[in-house]
């Protein structure tokens, strides 16, 4: 016989009451977990969609004024390429991708095109990795990460969406859709640019921007062919919108004081707004559940204390201290909270995974971290709402409980 035995036996003595309050906790936690899981993955999906719009921070030479976002790199002012390394080696949070660019005009078959030098990610991220530091040495928490997708061999066409590619050989080129059409180029063809033969590794899909009439090659090859030593026109940054709104631009500005750092305000504002909406929605449900659930548990506990007055008085007459009575009720609340939290997490996750894709149109996966939060929340609600009833029990006048005076 111990405190737990007393709590356990009492719970099963009043099964219908126990089931009622348990179902209350269970439904509350189920709702919170389901909403939180679905909104988390909806938020990620929105972030991925916004990511398809491309880079959302641009690093430009100070003297350049931004006229057109997609042709921001088409000018003859330069930044040192070393800025890329400075960025990758920094501790700036929220950078998903970097894409330094150098634009050079080229003439092919009597028409002018833009040859854009780009640096594959494998090169600058490797430098940071050698130093064991930098922005690519830790996981990226932004929405641009794929969800439940198995890695596939790189498709060079993703340059259009991701603004950066993993690898690009010095003699390889990517051709925009308009340029490919007018030059009659296809995958596997060769093209001569600034006196060097390039192999066309991919024709990029149409984007409706100036990128369609560009040809992309390795940055260092373009620098070499155009006699521009280790400079770029622009560095595109695919940043996490949350981090941008939290001051990423200022941080990059401090890091690169001689450059101009601009952001696409609408993109950032849209995602921030959506994230805020999701967070508020979750918060509203959470508050409703805490208040309604807490009131339900408190009501049950007050009724339970009232019903057990004689038993409490007897325990006091037998020598129970007030702390024992307090623990008797709080242990019961804690037990209900733990079981309700675990079951609520399981059912909430199941609900989110099965119903979420139909409701939000996104893939929803279980979030194990929510298990801890569900149990903590459930126990916290149960304990908080039971505290005053338990204290009342601990302060009962034993004589009044017997009604024998």
């Amino acid at each position: 016989m111990n405190l737990r035995t007393l709590v356990w036996r009492e719970l099963f003595e009043r099964k219908s009451q126990m089931i009622t309050v348990f179902v209350g906790i269970l439904l509350g936690i189920t709702t919170v977990v389901a909403i939180k899981t679905i909104t988390h993955y909806s938020e990620k999906a929105v972030a991925r969609e916004l990511d398809t719009l491309g880079a959302n921070v641009l690093v430009l030479p100070k003297s350049v004024s931004l006229q057109d976002y997609y042709s921001a790199d088409m000018h003859d002012q330069y930044l040192p390429e070393e800025y890329v390394l400075r960025l990758t080696m920094s501790d700036v949070q929220g950078v998903d991708n970097l894409s330094p660019k150098l634009c050079v005009p080229v003439e092919l078959e009597g028409r002018r095109y833009t040859l854009t030098g780009i640096l594959p990610k494998s090169e600058f991220s490797a430098k940071a990795a050698w130093a064991g530091a930098g922005i690519f040495s830790r996981p990226i928490g932004c929405g641009a990460i794929g969800v439940g997708e198995t890695p596939k061999p790189e498709d060079k066409k993703t340059l259009v969406r991701k603004r950066v590619i993993e690898t690009l050989e010095p003699d390889e080129a990517l051709v925009g859709s308009d340029a490919a059409a007018s030059l009659g180029l296809a995958d596997g063809d060769t093209v001569s640019l600034l006196g060097k033969q390039f192999s066309v590794v991919a024709v990029l899909p149409e984007t409706g921007t100036v990128d369609d009439s560009r040809i992309f090659a390795h940055l260092h090859t373009v620098q070499e062919l155009s006699d521009r030593d280790q400079v770029v026109n622009c560095i595109e940054i695919v940043g996490c919108c949350k981090e941008i709104s939290a001051g990423l631009v200022d941080k990059v500005n401090r890091l690169l004081p001689d450059a101009k750092v601009v952001t696409v305000a609408q993109v950032v504002a849209t995602q921030t707004k959506i994230n805020r909406l999701m967070e508020r929605l979750s918060l509203i449900f959470l508050v409703i559940i805490v208040v309604v659930g807490g009131a339900g548990i408190a009501n049950y506990m007050y009724a339970n204390v009232h019903e057990r007055r004689r038993e409490i008085g007897t325990l006091m007459a037998l020598g129970a201290e007030s702390s024992f009575i307090l623990r008797l009720f709080l242990t019961k609340a804690c037990l209900l909270g733990v079981v309700g939290g675990v079951a609520g997490f399981a059912i909430g996750t199941l609900l989110a995974v099965t119903v979420g894709p139909r409701l939000a149109g996104v893939t929803v996966l279980p979030m194990p971290v929510l298990a801890l939060w569900a149990v903590l929340l459930s126990v916290a609600i149960a304990l908080t709402s039971s505290f005053f009833p338990a204290r009342r029990a601990a302060r009962l006048d034993p004589c009044a409980t017997f009604q024998e005076v």
Binding site: M1, T314, A317, G319, S323, V405
Partner: protein, 229 residues
């Protein structure tokens, strides 16, 4: 030894002060067997609960083994009860969802006794009161006489030196009441002090000393029980 020094207990009821106990002076020696008799509302139960540290006096002092029990905090008083006092109630007050054995184990659990020792002691006590074959029965599965015997076993669990009984035979038939009083005599013979509130003259007559209360005052104190309640 139990003592009361000029103890008064008064209540406010509808703007009037009602004295449940009025200047009671009392000494009960160790090993005594006292019956408290008197009409309803005379203050018997109030006096008993005060002796048990369950009801604080408005005025005066209550002493157990020379220690003033209301000069210490409620938790210290709970410990005093746990170590020295056993209560018996008219309505038994068994915990309804526990078996007979578990009910007897409750005071031992409150005293921090290990589970094995609790079980051994509970079985031994239930056998003593003739319920060795009812260990796993819940109160609702026992007769009222058996329930009162479980309550007696529970009261003995922590080996109290003082037994306070409030109408222990009030709900029992004469035969079972006789059985319970016999147990009290045995407990008293073991050296325990017993204070018993009763309306039953036959039960009162079995005590060594009878105190009669009327309107909150001790109106007679006789060493031999010859008073009809």
């Amino acid at each position: 030894m139990l003592q009361m020094e000029k103890v008064t207990k008064s209540y406010r009821h509808r703007r009037r002060t009602v004295a449940a106990l009025d200047g009671a002076d009392l000494t009960i020696d160790a090993g005594d067997f006292v019956s408290l008799v008197g009409p309803s509302g005379s203050g018997k139960s109030t006096l008993l609960l005060m002796l048990g540290g369950m009801l604080s006096p408005t005025l005066g002092r209550v002493l157990l083994h020379g220690q003033s029990i209301y000069d210490v905090g409620p938790n210290a008083r709970a410990r005093l009860r746990k170590e020295n006092i056993g209560f018996v109630f008219q309505t038994f007050n068994l915990v309804p969802y526990l078996t007979a054995q578990e009910n007897v184990q409750v005071p031992l659990c409150l005293n921090g006794v290990a589970a094995d020792a609790q079980a051994r002691r509970a079985v031994e006590l239930l056998q003593r009161v003739g319920l060795g074959d009812r260990l796993d029965h819940k109160p609702t599965e026992l007769s009222v006489g058996q329930q009162q015997r479980v309550a007696l076993a529970r009261m003995l669990a922590n080996d109290p030196s003082v037994i306070l009984a409030d109408e222990p035979t009030g709900n029992l038939d004469p035969e079972t009441a006789e059985q319970v009083i016999s147990f009290f005599e045995q407990f008293n013979a073991e050296g325990r002090t017993i204070v018993m509130v009763t309306h039953d003259p036959r039960a009162a007559a079995r005590a060594k000393r009878t105190l009669r209360l009327a309107e909150g005052k001790v109106v007679s104190d006789q060493p031999q029980a010859r008073i009809v309640a």
